[in-house]
Symmetry: C2
Subunit: 537 residues, 2 copies
């Protein structure tokens, strides 16, 4: 293959990090721009070729590949964790858990397709009476008797090459072999990872593990590619005609830039970007009276652990003025003011935190309630609780956005009506949390509705951090939480971001994919003439 | 409600066509632009309020509403068909079938939610062991033992107000109360239809029927709104902050313009635009030898009925030089050359057809094979078969696009290799058809792969026109067939264009929607700890 040779020539044989970024600038013979473009073209051509091979594999072979990646990560675990700890300043215990979660993602997304649910199979045959349902007791009006005349069989197929941009705050779980990569590979797509420069060595180590797994499974090397470079590389990857979809985890600015590039293409492609979220927590007096001290402890950990560098960190606490809120605020302020500063992921994130924190505190009416008063290192963050009256919050949209890091703003509302106004003023969120008694919520149906209209996940009397990797999880939400509220970044349903349906009309059995054959050799779930079943027909 | 009063004030009480377009320009007091903007704002505010009421209705109440619309259309059928025939020049028999199909869409999409499948419910509970599957015989590696700690219950909820732009070529089935409206209402969303100016009176009549149904079901008037106007109205609807999604059926230019507007919004929203498709038909010699004469007859009808004004009209016929293709081409040319001219939907479409036909015939190497030689009316189309050698087709991307109307281009390929090159050169398509014997396809797996990578529906030895409304149908495809290949415009799965997941974490039973309650009072399909079931737990 010409394409493959070009990739090899650029990367040097045996190197997994196929395209070293900094070298571009040092090349005397070629402009960086055109060298980047030709590297991207070579990568995409190789990706398409590898994808064609991968698409012919069975569901079980796909699953085995994802399991093999998890095993290879296990083999390198200690080394990967040590490297990641050095590059990200996250502690080893947390990173060990994160690596395990990453393996579990690969394992469970790999298993997900085996029962056929992500394939979304529907079959309608000419013999069936159309659209009978319990609703009409089998009696249809005349115009309801539409009889299908064709044999139609539909299933999800892979979109094609997916470009993955990992997150700085999860060097394993949302990065190189993280959720987006696992979902794309489970969907049957080849993957090109643009390595995050803040943990380039970790990324490279993880990529080696993935490529060992591919080799062990007899899959083409280019099924998973790992490129290093800057924004020009990322942009070129998103713009290349052969790229079929993009997955991104990171800042609003970064996600939006990629979304705009993809939408402006001659042939637009889907971008799933998981971006910012302030994750509002509503604190009602009844629940604070019952559980205030415990909630203060819970929220302190949720706001400050891993230096607050979670996309689900609760950044807005919204309560109603009164003795319960006072007591809770005191308890939370005391706890937060003794959490020591922590080194952030990298200097860019530390600088952004310091600026955004300062900007928030500069607004008249915003006051510090709890923070450590001691000198901090250049890349460290000071955990901070600030407070603001409801009316000022409502008047200052700048306060509504995420401050990435250990910062939370307590919004003190005059009454329940103002609390509802605050809920209605919020933008799209990954999560919304209700600390409230059942009675309190029964009396505030508008609050539930306002929150449901803005959030992807609604948490009762708990904290939004801790995103479990199960199918019922939804990690997404209306913009700016993500670029498409209809999809999730976590859980096997996220596979659907990278597939599309194809319908086969009147095909002979032998030319159909096994998944669609009459006797259902794989025993997958299918909707046959409207009825879900794992049997043949 | 202030918003409602404003709509009433603009529309005049009792008028269903709320915002008459041409009047804007005649208003002496206000610029058209600002009047359009305030009408759009009023419509969206009323839509959101009506949507809040509708969202609280049960699944059965939603279903009853869609059924009621179908009944109201039945009551007005004769009048609607006569009006549509006058406005569109389509014949009454065809329009009667189309109206029935429209009713069936409303009926079947309304029924679809009752078994819960479109709700995509997943529930994971803390007690369940994570991710066990047959693949591992219940034995998980250490890192596979991830135990859920939270109670997570996820279901699809409506996105919010959907703006629908209907098609000129289906005044019922893809227009005012057509598939997009039916899917959005089944999803639980309020709908605002921008009436198609080419069948404004039909659209108004259909809107009256929908609004009678809403009144009969005790639903708010603004749940379904019908606005008339030009491009500025359409643009303002897409750009309004309260609009949640857009559905469009029509030209590539129109769909792309709306997609670009939506992507450039401060808060981007999904646009599902179903646009152009050349619907290639591959003709292999073995099948032509067996069935050539019959195929010529079948394809003539498919190319010319309703003046070729179908999005699935086969516009490209691709065969391999030889006696079988010669005989087939002769038979097809003879048949097409005796099909009389027909009046097209409107003068704009007729003009576009005449231009695009002339442009194609102007390319050196493109020759007319069969067409009527007689004078035609100004808005009539002449059915035309043209031919072109494979190498010229490959060199002329202009020939790859849809010519909307009764025109087909027969591409004569030198050999099977060139036929494959043509397949690989095609853009995204709604359909791809294979006229071939089983043996011929067995020998051309690359052709199947190339076609599957480009098409939404793959037809065997039949014609692509005739899109059946069943769940297994897929009416969509890679760009430029649609703006998002992951969704369908036909079949109940199209409901998913207008919903998004919300996950409830650790909620008490009484505050959960019925669909998610433990004992499953609605008996809907749910994935509970990975297993599909209609039981409680």
């Amino acid at each position: 293959m010409r394409a493959k040779e070009r990739v090899d020539a650029i990367s040097g044989t045996g190197e997994v990090c196929a395209v070293p970024g900094p070298n571009f600038a040092q090349s005397p013979r070629m402009e960086p721009q055109s060298q980047t473009l030709s590297a991207v073209a070579a990568a995409l051509e190789a990706s398409v070729a590898a994808g064609a091979v991968y698409r012919r594999k069975t569901l079980r072979e796909r699953t085995a590949f994802l399991h093999a990646i998890a095993r290879e990560l296990e083999a390198d675990a200690d080394k990967l964790i040590a490297t990641a700890a050095r590059e990200t300043h996250l502690d080893e215990a947390r990173l060990r858990l994160e690596l395990r979660r990453t393996q579990w993602q690969l394992f469970s997304y790999g298993n997900a397709s085996l029962d056929g649910i992500p394939l979304g199979i529907s079959i309608d045959t000419p013999s069936a009476a159309g659209g009978r349902s319990e609703a009409d007791g089998g009696k249809l009006p005349d115009w309801g008797k539409v009889q299908p005349k064709q044999d139609l069989r539909k299933m999800q197929v892979p979109l094609g090459p997916v470009v993955v941009f990992g997150a700085s705050n999860f060097p394993f779980a949302y990065s190189t072999a993280g959720g987006d990569t696992a979902a794309a590979l489970a969907a049957g797509c080849p993957v090109i990872v643009k390595a995050h420069p803040a943990h380039a060595e970790t990324s490279c180590g993880v990529a080696t593990a993935v490529q060992r797994a591919a080799a062990a499974c007899g899959l083409p090397e280019a099924l998973f590619q790992h490129l290093e470079g800057g924004f020009d590389l990322g942009g070129a990857l998103v713009q290349h005609p052969l790229t079929a979809a993009v997955a991104f985890t990171g800042s609003l600015e970064g996600g939006r830039a990629l979304f705009d590039l993809a939408a402006a293409r001659p042939r637009p492609i889907p971008v799933f970007a998981e971006m910012g979220s302030a994750n509002p927590v509503f604190l009602l007096p009844g629940q604070l009276a019952e559980q205030g001290a415990e909630l203060a402890k819970l929220l302190t950990a949720s706001i400050t652990s891993s230096a607050g560098q979670f996309c689900t960190k609760p950044g807005l606490l919204i309560g109603i003025e009164g003795p319960e809120l006072d007591a809770f605020a005191d308890a939370l302020a005391k706890r937060i003011s003794i959490v020591p500063p922590a080194e952030m992921l990298h200097s860019g994130i530390a600088k952004a935190f310091q600026h955004k924190r300062a900007d928030a505190l500069d607004i008249a009416g915003v006051e510090v309630a709890g923070t450590l008063s001691c000198p901090v290192g250049r890349n460290e963050s000071i955990p901070t609780l600030a407070t603001v009256p409801g009316e000022i919050f409502l008047a200052q949209p700048a306060l509504h956005h995420e401050v990435f890091g250990p910062f939370a703003l307590l919004v003190r509302c005059r009454d329940a009506a103002q609390l509802l106004d605050v809920a209605l003023a919020l933008e799209g969120q990954l999560t919304g949390t209700l600390m409230a008694t059942t009675e309190e919520l029964r009396e505030l149906p508008e609050l539930l509705e306002a929150l449901q209209a803005r959030c992807g996940r609604m948490v009762r009397n708990g904290v939004p951090t801790g995103v479990e990797v199960v199918t019922a999880m939804h990690h997404g939400g209306p913009y700016p939480a993500t670029t498409d509220a209809r999809f999730t970044a976590v859980g096997a349903d996220g596979i659907g971001r990278f597939t599309r349906p194809v319908c086969f009309q009147n095909w002979e059995e032998e030319l159909l994919p096994e998944e669609l054959q009459r006797h259902n050799p794989l025993g997958v779930w299918r909707r046959v003439n409207g009825v879900l079943s794992r049997e043949g027909f």
